[in-house]
């Protein structure tokens, strides 16, 4: 079985039941009457027509988190230092660097695509497989992007908010990042092998735990202070995505042939 096939099966095994469940339980929020202008505008602005379903999945994910992910992440924090966790972040981030390069190219930002390429080459070699991040030290800092941001730069609107089982906050546009991110890894380019598959599983697992560990205190804080954690996460997610898009747009500029005048930045 090829590496691609295995990943495809694994991906489908995870996502298809989630999507089927989502469809089966699909419930829509009832919009206020258009005559109630303020409420109707607020409803439109919220853009969360699947709110009842989203809230149901939010509860499911929080339950899973409480009994599985959070205890595991707490154990992980207990046996690691912040330094180790930073190196794990660097390592998993480096594996995603080729995907960032492809997205920057698709977005029309070749300078950032070049930065991603240099980062991957430098960190994979001098940085010992990405455990260290010497690329940042020599002037190639990381800039985040993904396929959702790429679609946004193409003019695709964010669309309705989605809260996915297992995957968490997303949207009608950003959800397309999931399959792209799944396959755009260096492991897909390498010849299939059992060792590579095991490495992929291990990397997915450690990334999940390391990421949850990063969120331990902030999520506890949101739980302790927010009146409506679902609405708070939704707000933070949307603001964060808007900010990332803004950062990508401001960070680089599209390069143009010399005989055209460069557009104002």
């Amino acid at each position: 079985m090829t590496n691609l096939n295995r990943r495809l099966r694994r991906g489908l095994a995870l996502t298809v039941p989630a999507l089927i469940t989502a469809t089966a339980l699909s419930g829509c929020a009832t919009p206020p009457p258009k005559s109630d202008t303020a409420d109707y505008q607020a409803y439109q602005q919220l853009n969360d027509p699947l709110e009842p379903t989203n809230r149901a999945f939010f509860k499911v994910n929080r339950t899973l988190d409480t009994y599985v992910m959070k205890p595991v992440a707490e154990g992980y924090v207990a046996i690691t230092t912040q330094g180790i966790r930073n190196h794990v972040t660097d390592f998993t981030s480096n594996i995603d660097e080729p995907a960032r390069m492809l997205n920057f190219m698709a977005e029309g930002y070749p300078a950032d695509a070049g930065t991603s390429l240099v980062r991957f080459l430098v960190n994979s070699t001098i940085g010992i497989g990405g455990i260290f991040d010497p690329a940042s030290a020599i002037g190639y800092p990381k800039t985040s992007t993904d396929f959702g941001i790429t679609l946004a730069t193409w003019g695709v609107p964010a669309g309705p908010y989605l809260y996915l089982p297992l995957f968490g906050p997303s949207g009608a546009r950003d959800v397309w990042n999931l399959p792209v991110q799944w396959f755009a890894t260096p492991m897909e380019a390498a010849p299939a092998s059992t060792a590579l598959n095991d490495f992929g599983h291990a990397e997915d697992g450690i990334n999940l735990i390391n990421t949850r560990a990063t969120y331990l205190q902030p999520i506890d804080q949101i739980d302790a202070t927010a009146l409506d954690p679902y609405a708070t996460f939704r707000s933070l997610y949307r603001q964060s995505r808007a900010s990332e898009l803004q950062e990508v747009k401001q960070h680089d500029h599209r390069t143009w042939p010399d005989w055209y005048s460069r557009p104002a930045k």
Binding site: T81, I222, L227
Partner: protein
């Protein structure tokens, strides 16, 4: 992964959960920078200083009332519901918000022992100024935190905190609006939720 930047930083800035005010006159970047430097130094001194958690919480509450435009918080956080709330409800909301802010600050003290604070730059934004800082705490990744400062009757006051592009006043407003819309637009439901949270936190402390 993109969820990481804002969620880590949010934790850093809640001690100064701040909000909104009507701008009067412009403040200069240097004034805003000096104000944030002085306020940050005071905050760090309290968090890292001696005394019990209760004493620190009390000192922080006093400091926040000095440097944050807390009284205007309700106006922004309530948003369009300010027109729906009765004068009595608005008064109750302001009292509860002050109380919740105090509890949230107290909650943060333990997590931020050993915090340090560095002011980087100040950029005008209309009549306001965005002061960019880096907040570092032991065993936590450094977080870039932006403070929006405006002139409030001749005094610089913090009106918002920006962490990785997310605004705390907008987040709080959406949080509270979530409660109200879930209960058919009733402001009373928000007041009940706030009171319940205060009761819950009081019981756990």
């Amino acid at each position: 992964m993109y969820f990481r930047r804002f969620i880590v930083g949010v934790a850093t800035s809640v001690p100064m959960l701040a909000v909104m005010a009507g701008a009067a006159q412009a403040i200069t970047p240097d004034q805003a920078k000096s104000f944030i430097t002085a306020s940050g130094d005071k905050l760090v001194a309290i968090v890292n200083g001696g005394g019990s958690q209760d004493q620190k919480a009390s000192q922080l509450r006093h400091l926040v009332n000095q440097i944050v435009a807390v009284n205007q918080v309700g106006d922004y956080v309530l948003g369009r519901y300010i027109n729906v709330a009765t004068p009595a409800q608005k008064q109750q909301f302001e009292a509860l918000f002050h109380q919740l802010l105090s509890y949230n600050i107290t909650y943060q003290i333990k997590a931020y022992q050993g915090v340090s604070f560095k002011v980087n730059s100040a950029t005008p934004q209309g009549n306001d100024v965005l002061v960019d800082t880096t907040v570092t705490a032991p065993d936590k990744a450094p977080a870039d935190v932006g403070w929006i400062v405006e002139d409030d009757s001749g005094q610089p006051k913090i009106i918002d905190v920006i962490v990785a592009g997310t605004s705390l006043r907008i987040t709080t407003r959406n949080d509270y609006a979530g409660v109200i819309t879930d209960h058919g637009g009733q402001v009373a439901a928000l007041l009940t939720a706030m009171q319940n949270q205060i009761t819950r936190i009081s019981a756990s402390q």
